[in-house]
């Protein structure tokens, strides 16, 4: 209990017939970087809005820092910094003035605010641009200013909703490193929402997989893989000669492919087969490289490549967001 800074239980939010968030339960421990991974429209933003009390849940409760945001949003917002997807600033004010305004809203005096804003702008690398109007900031600069804006209230938790959208790769890397650094330095819990799995993999201690309003699995990348691929922890990719398709007429080629497929499925431990462009992806419960090679060769097709793949979020992502042909 004491360790959990965010606790969501049975959280549900409906828009008419459409259920945006469906019975979501989630805990985030103090000090960790939690990644909320899901495709667009999965309900990540809605969940975040409910955590801040900006929208009311239809069912279930949220507790952030031990406070219920739907009854006491102000107390929650004192402790939680939120960086929205596309953060907006007053374009006719300088970066510094924008930060000072936010700080004053958080109950700081102007003097204190200016000191702290100056320090934070230095920290996020905008020290030289602090007197420039934010209308002239680039996308990456705005995002870094957004991070400073979130940190100025000295939060316990920061929630970042797709913070890297529209930044170039170098900028993303820098931005993510900054988040990790700040979180470790100041012991801030970070909730990082993204549809970008590599970024999540890069920074997060724990990941929650969020699809169509439901949390499918949580854990670090390894445990996520074993949760999701419990039965088939190995993926083997076998390349077959595509020329086989051109031998004889079309039906012959199809038959041949079907043959290989059946032969492969007969091997004990092969759970799923996916084929694209002459490469067969097999999910297996054991290391079956040898058996697979033998099966393909004995079927008369030339094997061009064979590789064992390790699991990453990539596989998790494709498995859940795109879905393969399941065979269990």
């Amino acid at each position: 209990m004491a360790g959990n800074i965010i606790e969501l239980t049975g959280l549900t939010r409906k828009y008419g017939q459409f259920t945006a968030v469906d019975n979501l339960s989630l805990t985030v421990a103090r000090g960790e970087i939690f990644g909320l991974l899901g495709p667009n429209g999965a309900g990540k933003s809605t969940t975040i809005l409910m955590m801040l009390g900006l929208t009311e849940p239809d069912a279930g409760t949220a507790r952030v820092c031990g406070i219920d945001p739907s009854t006491d949003p102000v107390e929650v917002k004192k402790r939680v910094g939120y960086l929205p997807e596309e953060v907006g600033f007053y374009d006719d004010m300088s970066g510094l003035d924008n930060l000072v305004y936010t700080a004053c809203l958080n109950g700081l005096s102007v003097k204190e605010a200016q000191a702290r804003a100056g320090k934070l702008l230095e920290r996020v690398g905008l020290g030289n641009e602090k007197h420039k109007k934010t209308g002239k900031y680039s996308r990456g600069m705005r995002q870094r200013l957004g991070l400073a804006d979130v940190l100025i209230k000295d939060p316990e938790v920061i929630i970042l909703d797709e913070p890297t959208l529209g930044i170039d790769p170098a900028g993303v890397r820098e931005f993510l490193d900054l988040i990790v650094e700040l979180s470790r330095e100041q012991k801030i819990t970070v909730l990082f929402s993204s549809h970008h799995l590599h970024q999540v993999q890069q920074v997060c201690d724990r990941v929650g997989l969020f699809v169509a309003g439901r949390l499918l699995a949580t854990g670090d990348v390894q445990s996520l893989a074993s949760q999701l691929f419990g039965k088939s922890p190995y993926t083997i990719e076998a390349g077959i000669e595509t020329a086989v398709h051109h031998q004889g007429d079309g039906t012959d080629a199809l038959k041949k492919r079907e043959e290989i497929r059946n032969a492969l499925l007969e091997i004990r431990g092969v759970n799923e087969i996916r084929e694209d462009n002459g490469i067969i992806h097999l999910s297996c419960s054991r290391d079956l490289t040898g058996e697979i090679a033998a099966a393909i060769i004995s079927s008369g097709v030339r094997l061009t490549s064979l590789s064992k793949r390790e699991y990453g979020l990539d596989d998790i992502y494709y498995r859940y967001f795109e879905g393969g042909e399941n065979h269990e």
Partner: protein
């Protein structure tokens, strides 16, 4: 020698003054302001430095100047002997015109809505479109601070502007006429300005309501202007059409005539501008005794003379209440809509 010591002393004092001033400024920076004040001060600063407010002020100031000029040049003809309003010479500044240029009173009635609409039509939706709304609302403030502060800031700016304009007109009159206003005239003036503020506040609230309703500031501005045009141009036409068909014949009984006239007035009084012009006329022309039809019986024995201020205010109390009610209703609707709205980033 004494001069040198004087200079030294002078410098010391100056230094002390400079120190005190910087100390005061520092202390101001040290003060922790309530979030509501923070928002309000920013909104006021935005209004005052924005082009929109400057343009609106220039338009209104120029028209004021025009009406003041016509009023001053026609002052000599305006005062007739045995005029019951002769004692209220000064108030004529606001009401007389020679027909080429409307009076100050009419101008405020006409441009006031424009001022209110101009300051309110993008209050909420522009914040939303810029993406600042969700950022500000994720700060530890209550949601209604934003809409309340926006309203309060615009109202303060409007009040300051109308008071300044009114006082300037008075000052100009004082200089050119050479007659100081009496205490009652001054009070009537102040009430007139307060009434104008209320009237502008009504349109301000209406445009804030539209800014909550419509995502695009242009749509909100156009709808507010449409309402304004409807009330100033089309509604009187419609009332005329409706009442003309119901007009009683000349031979109808006086009761019927009175009832008809009251019905017509009731229809007209739906218009906020009608309420405003009735109220201002009564306040600025103290000889106005009634805003509805009067029978001969009621007139018999009445001494033609100005009403005291208290009586004038009593006469326009329903109009003032009506305007205030309209203002409050549109504010409440926009408040409720805004509080229930889900704030999504952009």
């Amino acid at each position: 020698m004494t001069s040198i010591t004087d200079i030294l002393k002078e410098e010391k004092t100056m230094n002390r003054i400079a120190l005190t001033i910087s100390g005061l400024l520092d202390r101001k920076k040290d003060r922790i302001r309530h979030p509501f004040r923070v928002i309000m001060e920013k909104e006021i600063a935005d209004h005052l430095t924005g082009w929109r407010f400057i343009i609106l002020t220039v338009i209104i100031a120029l028209t004021c100047l025009g009406s003041l000029y016509t009023a001053l040049s026609n002052m000599s003809q305006a005062v007739k002997p045995n005029d019951p309003e002769g004692t209220f010479f000064f108030l004529k500044l606001f009401t007389i015109s020679d027909g080429t240029m409307p009076s100050f009173m009419v101008f405020i009635g006409f441009l006031g809505p424009l001022l209110g609409i101009g300051l309110g039509f993008d209050a909420i939706n522009s914040e939303h479109n810029r993406g600042t709304l969700s950022r500000i609302l994720s700060q530890p403030i209550h949601r209604d601070y934003i809409i309340n502060a926006k309203f309060a800031a615009a109202l303060m700016v409007i009040s300051a502007m109308l008071f300044v304009l009114g006082m300037l007109v008075m000052g100009a009159g004082l200089i050119t006429l050479g007659i100081p206003p009496t205490a009652e005239e001054f009070l009537r003036m102040v009430f007139f300005i307060l009434l104008s503020i209320l009237y502008v506040a009504f349109w301000l609230n209406l445009s804030i309501l539209f800014s909550v309703l419509f995502r695009q500031p242009a749509t909100a501005a156009l709808s507010a202007i449409a309402v304004w045009l409807f009330f100033t141009v089309f509604y009187p036409l419609i009332v005329n059409l409706v009442t003309r068909s119901m007009e009683p014949s000349a031979a109808a009984s006086p009761y019927q005539l009175v009832a008809f006239e009251q019905f017509r007035l009731a229809l007209l009084r739906v218009m906020p501008n009608q309420l405003f012009s009735e109220a201002t006329t009564t306040l600025l022309l103290p000889s106005v005794r009634s805003l509805g039809p009067l029978t001969m019986e009621q007139m018999i024995g009445a001494v033609p003379g100005p009403l005291p201020l208290g009586q004038s205010i009593l006469l326009v109390w329903p109009q003032v209440t009506g305007l205030a009610a309209g203002t409050i209703v549109s504010f409440v609707i926009s408040y409720i809509l805004f509080m229930r709205r889900e704030i999504r980033p952009r």
